[in-house]
């Protein structure tokens, strides 16, 4: 519990100390003053944000920030800026943001109505949905088959929440991280593992025997990933969105998508026409 | 019971390389009261602790009440119920009342009924002169009282032999006598006693024999009169001059 108390106190103090400054200064002003845009991101969510083999902090989301958001912000503040990265996990990311420890959450955060009460989201930069990973030949083909079955999910994920609501008879086992959940699937502690489709494809691609596993089922939830910002900072949000919009329009976004999710990318995950249409619809195309 | 209560037969004992008992030959008759004295580290405690097998010997044999302590598979508990022991540090059990301390072994070892154990215990407290402290806890008694309870506790098993290892040396001077009186009474009642003590007055008055040890050996043994009046060895003389001058 010590860890808890420390974490809590840190957050509370950070929140209290940062409030007056935050109230006066918009994020863009702050970036202008300091020359730094601090993002909260992940270290272990390939291919979105992770530490690679040569110890570089890289990923699709990080590329989006570096190559699309950064120029847009630089244009607004009128000078070159630096990107600083900090680790932010699901329980810490919103407090980190509201306490000004970071300016932008750029990881794998799903844009949900609840979260919109606390933060603002950018345009959706990735679209996936929850599916199931099962042993090849499993009778489970979709969410309709999981009644009474043991299903692993990631703690704190929207997927667990939806399963609980839609299929209350499923026996949910929630693990804090992917490796443990996958281990439970491998050993038969659970019959299926549900997560965002992209995560499952990534897991399958990296597993020792990819052919032993199937990712099945239609998206039973929508998981649009967005970048989160402090609520009510319209100018900053406009700058971030402008960067992404420019990426969609110029095609640079799709180049980056190809780099990470194309046939030769880290996790092959071809973009369906529906997803592409969804993304373009955001910018009125 | 007549004859020999305790017989040491060429007993040798080592603690690692330290040779603490050397060729001890000694017998103590039933009903005899023997005082063992000698300088610190001479092996007195070890000697009497071998009798109830708190220490094991490496050579020779000790026969206690007809029972050899070196036979394999010896029923130690049974032997020990017949040999009571009183320690320098009382060793009452702090979490039990005086009465519970005395009743424990009869009930747990001899399976005596609670009522009978309590009756015996109260009688023994009477005998050692503190019937009114039956329900006190050891920490609330004086040292002299504690040691008297310890004697009562040992007697509760109705032993045939009593061993005392410096029973008065942890006591304040004004309490020594109350303990010695109890021991004297016990001797008068015919108990076989082996006492390590430097209370020479007690030795003179009560003991049938005084044994002087040094460096793991029995140097000299004789009746108290002779022992104090005409010690044979120089080491005994030296020792006596030291302790009697105090």
């Amino acid at each position: 519990m010590k860890r808890w108390v420390t974490m809590f106190l840190m957050l509370a103090v950070a929140a209290a100390v940062a409030l007056p400054a935050a109230a006066q200064e918009g994020t863009l002003d702050k970036i202008k003053r300091t020359g730094v845009l601090t993002i909260g991101t992940r270290t272990g969510s390939p291919p979105f944000a992770y530490i690679d083999k040569s110890n570089n902090w890289v990923g699709f989301t990080i590329d989006l920030v570096e190559q699309l958001v950064k120029p847009a912000v630089e244009k607004e503040v009128g000078k070159a800026i630096k990107i600083e990265k900090k680790e932010s996990t699901p329980p810490t990311r919103i407090p980190l943001l509201t306490s000004n420890a970071v300016d932008l959450i750029a990881g794998t955060m799903t844009d949900t109505p609840q979260r919109r009460e606390s933060v603002d989201f950018s345009l959706t930069f990735f679209y996936t949905g929850a599916q199931f990973m099962v042993k090849k030949g499993s009778p489970i083909k979709s969410i309709n088959d999981i009644g009474g079955k043991r299903v692993a999910a990631q703690q704190g994920s929207t997927n667990a929440k939806i399963i609980r609501e839609k299929v209350p008879t499923a026996q949910l086992r929630e693990f804090p991280d992917q490796p443990a959940a996958f281990q439970a699937l491998v050993q038969g502690q659970v019959d299926a593992y549900t997560n965002d489709g992209i995560q499952l494809y990534g897991l399958k691609a990296k597993s020792p025997k990819p052919d032993d596993w199937d990712v099945v089922g239609d998206f039973y939830s929508e998981e649009p990933y967005g970048m989160a910002m402090r609520k009510g900072d319209a100018k900053f949000k406009a700058a971030v969105d402008a960067g992404l919009k420019n990426g969609f329009e110029s095609g640079k976004y799709f180049d980056l998508y190809e780099k990470w999710f194309g046939a030769k990318g880290e996790v092959p995950y071809p973009m369906t026409p529906q997803v592409k249409a969804y993304l373009m619809k955001q910018i009125g195309k | 019971m007549n004859g020999q209560a305790i017989e040491f037969k060429r007993v040798n004992k080592w603690f690692g390389k330290l040779h603490v008992l050397r060729d001890i030959d000694l017998s103590i008759a039933s009903g005899e009261v023997v005082v063992v004295c000698g300088p610190s580290g001479s092996g007195k405690s070890t000697l009497i602790r071998c009798v109830n097998v708190l220490e094991r010997i490496q050579q020779g044999d000790i026969v206690v009440l007809g029972q050899s302590v070196t036979v394999p598979g010896l029923n130690l508990a049974k032997l020990r119920t017949r040999v009571g022991m009183v320690f320098q540090q009382f060793n009452l059990f702090a979490h039990m009342t005086v009465l519970q301390n005395i009743m424990l072994a009869p009930m747990r070892v001899k399976r005596v009924s609670r009522d009978e154990a309590e009756r015996t215990a109260r009688a023994l407290l009477e005998r050692v002169g503190i019937p009114h402290r039956a329900d006190s806890y050891p920490a609330n008694l004086s040292g002299g009282q504690q040691q008297r309870v310890a004697i009562a506790r040992a007697l509760a098993m109705q032993p045939d032999v009593m061993l005392f290892d410096e029973p008065t040396s942890a006591l304040d001077p004004e309490m020594i006598n109350e303990v010695l009186e109890v021991m004297t009474d016990l001797a008068r009642d015919g108990m076989t006693m082996m006492c390590v003590t430097h209370e020479m007055g007690f030795a003179r008055r009560v003991a049938h024999r005084v044994i002087f040890m040094d460096e793991g050996q029995v140097i000299e043994q004789s009746e108290p009169e002779a022992f104090f009046a005409a010690p044979k060895s120089d080491r005994t003389k030296q020792f006596l001059s030291k302790i009697l001058s105090h």
């Binding site: 699901p90 009460e117 606390s118 | 979490h95």
Partner: protein, 239 residues
């Protein structure tokens, strides 16, 4: 742009129910693990003080092995490592009947037991050896001496460090969330997920743990006073 506190998330919706469930699971898990830990701790602690070398060695092995490997590893060991050794039908039955919970109980109990045994051993060693000899000299067996004399005294002496270990056990029970046991920390995170109100959820979790710890400390100090040996342990300003 400021953080908007919204404490009502803690009692509106399902939050209160979840927190309560988490609390119950934490209590059940901790209580069962505590019983296991105390039994193992007494056994191993006592065995470490006996003269018979093989028993002592076994106890040393248990203590050093279990205490020096992180609890998280033990959770995984009992949950992932042990079941594959069982027949498939047994595994399936276990997985359908709270294997996570029992794995957590065993992991936490065995781990804490190893730590407690050190405390108990220290308690036993603080009792003069002559007390043990006095017990034997009266004809008690070694087992009786431990059961009737050494342990009752040692256990009274070690209440404060045992309180510490018990509190640690309670706090450590949150590690069970790694093998999907829905205990208090797990549920606190769940509240956070559903409401996106991290500070409120963390505060609730922290307060509940705090109250639990204070409760345990109070019970233990009552116990200490209740079983204090008259005249031996002077309690300053007590009751």
């Amino acid at each position: 742009m400021q953080y908007q506190f919204k404490w009502s998330v803690l009692w509106s919706g399902q939050s209160a129910g979840w927190l309560l469930q988490g609390l119950i699971t934490t209590l059940e898990l901790s209580a069962l693990a505590w019983i296991l830990a105390v039994c193992l701790g007494i056994l191993a602690g006592a065995l470490r003080t006996v003269t018979f070398a093989p028993l002592r060695a076994a106890a040393v092995f248990y203590v050093e092995f279990f205490r020096n490997v992180p609890l998280l590893v033990w959770m995984f060991f009992w949950y992932f490592g042990v079941p594959p050794l069982l027949p498939r039908v047994v595994q399936d039955w276990l997985f359908n009947h709270g294997a996570e919970f029992w794995a957590a109980v065993i992991a936490l109990g065995v781990y804490t037991g190893a730590r407690m045994s050190e405390v108990i051993r220290a308690g036993i060693l603080s009792i003069p050896r002559t007390q043990f000899e006095a017990s034997l000299a009266m004809g008690l067996t070694v087992g009786q001496a431990y059961r009737l004399i050494i342990l009752p005294i040692a256990l009274r002496l070690i209440v404060p460090p045992m309180t510490n270990e018990s509190l640690n056990l309670l706090k450590n029970s949150s590690v069970a969330l790694t093998i999907s046991v829905a205990e208090l920390t797990f549920q606190t995170r769940q509240v956070e997920t559903y409401t996106a109100k991290a500070i409120e959820a963390l505060t609730a979790g922290t307060l509940i743990y705090l109250v639990l710890c204070l409760g345990i400390a109070t019970v233990m100090s009552r116990l200490e006073r209740r079983f204090a040996i008259p005249g031996l342990i002077a309690r300053v300003g007590a009751g």
